[in-house]
């Protein structure tokens, strides 16, 4: 379904944050990207969604090369991102936020399919039906995350990229959201989820990538922080993942994520 190879990307005029990253998501799969905050998960998600231009590499979705396509074009083709931090239109109502999500639907059947999707969304997240006339900004964090996912679902995505869906949410809500994701996956939706909570992500996914933060050279005074996407596939064993992750905590104290971003 999605094949990205040799992705390089970075922010502004800054150095590459991604170095030749490869991501593959097969049809009907649910794939997790795990790693620490600032490791580059979001950078990958943003690059795949087109919010950040790929400086090199190729992104192929369903056989079409989308490397140069705009974010909105990717969304219209079914490659949808639920961005980190929800990115809702806070002063618009929940219903209006969801309405924006129907943009990718083909014009001829938009009305019918929007109604179908709305039914599904309300079934998945009943609270949203109740709050549909409230400004999205007035909702709790968990409810906002639901709106963000629901908005993406409104456009009948084929691949959903979830960027840190659990950020700042209560564990109960996180579980609920992952249950929904699993269910959607069961209905045939391909999912790529970037998640700090490795254990949770792995437990819901068939495959996982481990994103690791690393510096190419620390001796060079002008050296930049770089993160590498290692193509290694992590197995189903949760303990192995946790073990893999532990040493990385050493980086936390020294380099801020901003340093990487720059």
């Amino acid at each position: 379904m999605l094949e990205a190879h040799g992705l390089r990307a970075g922010y502004g005029k800054g150095p590459d944050v991604l170095l030749d990253a490869d991501v593959v998501v097969g049809t009907g799969e649910i794939v997790a990207m795990i790693g620490l905050n600032g490791a580059g998960k979001s950078t990958i998600a943003r690059t795949l969604a087109g919010l950040l231009p790929a400086r090199s590499g190729r992104i192929v979705f369903d056989g079409d090369d989308l490397t140069r396509a705009t974010t909105d074009e990717r969304a219209r083709r079914g490659l949808m991102l639920v961005p980190e931090g929800r990115e809702l239109c806070a002063s618009m109502t929940v219903a209006e936020n969801l309405a924006v999500g129907t943009v990718p639907l083909p014009r001829a059947e938009r009305r019918r399919r929007a109604a179908e999707n709305l039914g599904l969304v309300h079934e998945l997240f009943p609270i949203l039906e109740e709050k549909r006339r409230q400004p999205a900004g007035s909702l709790s964090g968990g409810q906002q995350q639901m709106v963000a996912i629901a908005r993406a679902l409104m456009g009948s995505p084929r691949l959903l990229i979830l960027d840190e869906p659990s950020l700042g949410l209560a564990p109960l809500l996180v579980r609920e959201i992952f249950q929904v994701v699993s269910r959607l996956n069961g209905d045939g939706l391909s999912v790529l989820v970037a998640e700090q909570n490795a254990a949770l992500a792995i437990s819901h996914s068939s495959q996982a990538y481990h994103i690791e933060l690393g510096a190419v050279s620390t001796t060079d005074a002008t050296s930049e922080q770089r993160s590498l996407l290692k193509g290694g596939v992590v197995g189903d064993d949760r303990d192995e993942v946790v073990a893999l992750q532990l040493p990385d905590y050493r980086w936390m104290g020294r380099r801020s994520p901003e340093a990487v971003a720059r």
Partner: protein, 291 residues
């Protein structure tokens, strides 16, 4: 009482023009966060186009309005693709773009001066004939047309922004561009739509006001300043609040000119504006676009 009613009626008509300009401000502001200081000159462009088509080429009013819309569309496209988008691509700060709108306005004025000369020209009203008077309160037919068209337009724009998918998407573009983009909204195209809508509304406003005050290169500034004031007083958030604020400004202007002092009326109006801004609750100032 008749005097008061007459002033009120005039104030509403005048304020509707301000509201229309505010509408133009807000549509671009909603989509891009840009305050367009060429608004007055775009109003002028509409008026001048109406003058040329109606008075010099003797076309009928339907064709004139069509011509105004076409010219407005062209100007919007020139500004959007010739100036705005290239600047966005080069990562120009918003302040530079605001100044670019000022420079665009300078160019429009200079072009109008070069093309038609610098004076004010009369433009025939849509419905010629005597003013309509009801119980001592009179109104020029053109003022009635302006008020009606302004409110119809604000209604249409409100409908567009709240009830159509394109309109809601456009608001999404203004509120959160990332949200719009990841939802599949064609951001760049919608910004162009916003520019076109804004300039058309403003230019039509110019064409409508021309039969009252004439058309000429330096006609737009005073109206634009008050339209801007209306937009801001409406909280920079909603088109109908901008319209209501425009009417409020029109009424204040009329009533203070009559009852207090015509010489100090601008001071009074701007002082009220200043105080309103300073005393306005931060909540109102911070709220985003709601429609």
């Amino acid at each position: 009482m008749t005097t008061f009613l007459q002033l009120a009626v005039s104030g509403i008509a005048l304020g509707s023009i301000y509201g229309l300009v505010a509408l133009g401000f807000l549509v671009i502001y909603h989509a891009t966060g840009l305050v367009n200081f060429a608004q007055g000159q775009l109003l002028m462009a509409g008026a001048m186009t109406a003058y040329v088509l109606l008075m010099q080429l003797d076309l009928g009013y339907p064709l004139v309005l069509l011509g105004v819309v076409v010219v407005a569309l062209l100007l919007a496209l020139v500004f959007r693709y010739g100036i705005h988008r290239p600047m966005v691509r080069r990562g120009a700060p918003t302040e530079n773009m605001v100044v670019a709108t000022i420079a665009f306005g300078l160019v429009l004025t200079a072009a109008a001066e070069l093309g038609i000369g610098n004076t004010r020209y009369g433009v025939d009203p849509i419905f010629p004939g005597a003013p309509i008077a009801i119980g001592g309160v009179s109104m020029q037919t053109q003022s009635i047309v302006i008020t009606a068209v302004a409110w119809v337009l604000v209604g249409l724009v409100w409908f567009f922004f709240t009830k159509t998918l394109t309109g809601v998407s456009l608001r999404a573009v203004g509120l959160n561009r990332t949200a719009a983009a990841v939802s599949g909204v064609r951001v760049s195209r919608l910004i162009t739509v916003a520019f076109a809508l804004s300039v058309i509304v403003t230019a039509v406003g110019g064409a409508l006001v021309a039969p009252i005050i004439g058309a000429g290169p330096s006609m737009g500034l005073a109206i634009a300043v008050k339209g801007f004031a209306a937009a801001v007083l409406g909280g920079m958030s909603s088109v109908y609040r901008g319209m209501v604020a425009g009417v409020a400004i029109g009424l204040i202007e009329m009533l203070s000119s009559y009852y207090i002092s015509s010489a100090y009326a601008p001071v009074i109006a701007y002082t009220i504006l200043f105080l309103a801004l300073v005393l306005m609750p931060a909540r109102v100032r911070k709220s985003g676009a709601t429609a």
